[in-house]
Amino acid sequence: MCLAIPGKIIEIKKDIATIDYGSEKRKAKIVEGNFKINDYVIVQGKIVIEKVPEDQVEQWINLLNNGS
């Protein structure tokens, strides 16, 4: 449900990140790359795919929620 929008990493234990989407939290595995707490990321299939620069997050969420 939240997978199309960026979520914020709030905890990392070993290779499992907890990601906050505002309305809910989900866990995903970090398999490649350097991620840290407070990074915004995109998850697919319970894997952290890519980082999203913080200044692009709002634009991203607005775009998808406006359904243009």
Binding site: V31, E32, Q44, G45, I47, L63, N65, G67
Partner: protein, 157 residues
């Protein structure tokens, strides 16, 4: 591979966005996912409705090439070439899209560096790494060149 299946290998990764927009429900999403993974042929009308944004543009490619929208060459031309230039030029909804989203939306050629149980690690764009889900093309080998879209490997090249 049937045209409907080929289309879904490339289009399915966008379904998360379409679901986020509320244009498809959970059942439709699961149906699309299962058809993309297990190479099932879904009705063309259904696919044309769900992915109407893609088909608006595929229609143009088909007209340019003088072929049908369900011609596999048209589908390849769209996803591998035209789709990326539309994104780069910021046309349609991409005008408002941030760069990180555009990068995920583009279809890239990528080399398989690592194979794990559920995913691959691939290299694209001269040195960028991305883990991608391998369910759409389970039979890949290290060193293979594949196309990637969002968090998925779509097709072996």
């Amino acid at each position: 591979m049937e045209a409907e299946v080929l289309f879904l290998k490339y289009a399915f990764p966008c379904s998360f966005i379409i679901k986020q927009r509320g244009e498809i429900n959970d059942i439709e999403f699961k149906m699309l996912e299962s058809a993309a993974i297990y190479n099932k042929i879904l009705p063309r009308k259904f696919l044309e409705r769900v992915y109407f944004r893609a088909f608006q543009k595929i229609k143009k490619v088909a007209d340019d090439l003088g072929r049908d929208i369900w011609d596999k060459e048209v589908i390849h031309e769209y996803f591998i070439k035209r789709h990326n230039s539309i994104i780069e030029d910021g046309m349609y909804a991409y005008a408002e899209a941030p760069d990180a989203l555009k990068n995920l939306c583009k279809v890239h050629y990528a080399k398989v560096l690592k194979i794990e149980k559920d995913f691959l690690v691939v290299e694209y764009d001269y040195g960028k790494l991305r883990p991608v889900i391998k369910t759409l093309i389970p039979k890949v080998k290290k060193g293979d060149v594949v196309t990637i879209h969002y968090g998925y490997a779509c097709e072996k090249v």
